[in-house]
Amino acid sequence: MNEFVAIAPLLMLALGATAVMLQIAFLRSVRLTAVVATVSLLLASASCFYANDTAPLQVGALLQADTYSLLFCILFTLAGAVTCVLSLDYIQHHGDEPEEYFLLLILATLGACVLAYAVHLASLLLGLELLSVSLYALIAYPNRSLLPLEAAIKYLVLSGAASATLLFGFALLYATTGTLHFSELGTALEQSDMGAALPMAGAAMILAGLAFKLSAVPFHLWTPDVYDGAPAPISGFLASVGKAAVFVVLLRLFLEANLFRYERLVELTGLMAILSMLAGNLLALQQTNIKRMLAYSSIAHIGYLLIVFMVCLDLSNRDIAIEAAAFYLIAYTATTLAAFGLLTLINEKRVEREQVQLQHVSGLFWRQPVLAGLMLVALLSLAGIPLTAGFIGKFYIFSAAVSGSNWILLAALIIGSGISIYYYLRVVFYMTKHAEEHKDAIELSPGWSGKALSCLLIASILVLGIMPQSLIAVLGSIL
């Protein structure tokens, strides 16, 4: 019985998926489907608090319910609910039979939550595939233009290659240890007398496979094309939940199997972090397409996050590193959702090609102050300006890196942040241009749900930025 309570969020999501499926079978109605999907995602989020009473508890051989997994479950289900509401008006204009979209969105969220729970390589793979397979279909969902299809095929083929690499890595680890469970892997690697070469190669392959999903440099080539082609709300979901879930499980794998024992491997993550921070920010400078700019900036943000792996090398700093990663993930998810949310609201009625060039937001402050306010807060938070969630997150990473005295990583972090301010503020500059300077500006009339949601997202970013103490207290108590 306790085990059912412990995985209540997963059960709620599965139940929600079934309910949506049955509802579509009997009655096609987008609004109803969206309501059922949003409610089931919110219920799943609420059930995390209920499940917390039983934590920590190992469920079956595959899942572990503890505060770490439940915290991220709340984050992913809330992000899923936000994406649902954002998508409602958008998807009606972009594809016929829009109902299945919400079913796939619930399933993708379920995959992300399984990743948060995973303590076994099998559940890692299943969760990852559930997340990615749903995302392939979601990316290609709008069937009135061909760009999403191209994006989905790119993602599918490259992601398949990444999964194959991942599986090869699993096989190598299993060959040396004979187990797939994270913590058992840790003890088995301790006692293994087969030398470090084979398990290290396996762990490196797993790292490469997951780094592809995280789009860390040098595995980032797909990112801008896929983000550009995918429907805007899905780009937001992919950039926030899609990455955060993979990062969560990667961190747990490294901690529980203690892969930090392979110093070379951890140095590899440090190298990836530096490359991601520099390459992501430099490439973002050259973009005039906001979606592509956000794609490159998300690469840079993964770079900032990967710093914590190097910090974790030193046992005494591990707690602050994990705390920093958790806070950064939460801040990054809220911010990314807000930024892509604005693009969604702009493009609600664009059928053929989304309008995401810089000049399309020109004069937005004078036309749609609420939307422009959302974008401003999101961009300031991405840039890490004080009073926003992004600032606290970056500050956390910064102080973690200082306590680990990783000076090279710190230098890359500072240089990267410096570059990033330029291209974030360029968007703000375009938004403040006077409306009459730009004649072909598009008409905007976002629905009330979009406006309410943007206010909510602004509020959450500001609250996290101004009063982070309560969240920090929660984070401190889980680790």
């Binding site: 995985i7 599965a14 998926a17 499926m21 469920v59 079956g60 051989a61 595959l62 899942l63 016929d96 039979e97 299945e100 079913l103 796939l104 399933l107 993708a108 379920l110 995959g111 399984v114 099998a122 559940s123 299943l126 969760g127 595939e129 559930l130 397979v133 749903s134 392939y136 279909a137 290609a140 969902y141 069937n143 299809l149």
Partner: protein, 169 residues
């Protein structure tokens, strides 16, 4: 002797996979891929995992690959398609994969009687697999069913795009 047989099967797996990668013709490539999967199945069998070998044959070589071949062949309808198919059946095209498959069959027949695996591990019976799947790994089965649901819905929606398109034009 078992080790020799194992290495022969491994060699067949490697060469047929290489051949599958380098064939320009999709149907020929698929035939080589089937041979490669059969060779892997024989390797599993020789290593003392008959159940894994059976699954490899039934699921990969049997269900998935044969379905692929059917679809590829069905795409070539009409006179030109018939000519092309006749050309596919020319002797030089089926002799090599046929010989490889025959070699694998001979290997199987040689070891079929009293048989001990090459490795020291224990053979896993289907029953043991079933008990594990519906015991500690029950949730994996459930999550996999959700995975199938999402791919089914996704495939339905993506496939629908082309049906609707064709109707419109």
């Amino acid at each position: 002797m078992l080790a020799t047989l194992f290495y022969i099967a491994a060699l067949i797996a490697l060469t047929s996979t290489m051949a599958a990668l380098t064939r320009a013709n999709a149907a020929h490539a698929l035939i080589y891929l089937i041979v490669s999967l059969l060779a892997v199945a024989v390797m599993f069998f020789l290593m003392g995992a008959p159940f894994a070998a059976a699954l490899e044959v039934v699921i990969y070589a049997g269900a998935i690959m044969v379905l692929f071949v059917f679809v590829i062949m069905m795409l070539n309808l009409g006179d030109t398609g018939e000519d092309r198919e006749r050309e596919w059946l020319a002797g030089r095209n089926w002799f090599v994969p046929g010989a490889m498959a025959a070699l694998l069959l001979i290997e199987m027949l040689m070891v079929l009687g009293d048989f001990q695996g090459v490795t020291s591990g224990n053979a896993v019976s289907p029953k043991a697999v079933g008990i594990r799947l519906f015991g500690p790994y029950l949730l994996a089965v459930e999550i996999a069913s959700m995975l199938l649901l999402s791919s089914l819905v996704g495939a339905y929606h993506l496939g629908r795009r082309f049906i609707v398109r064709r109707g419109e034009h």
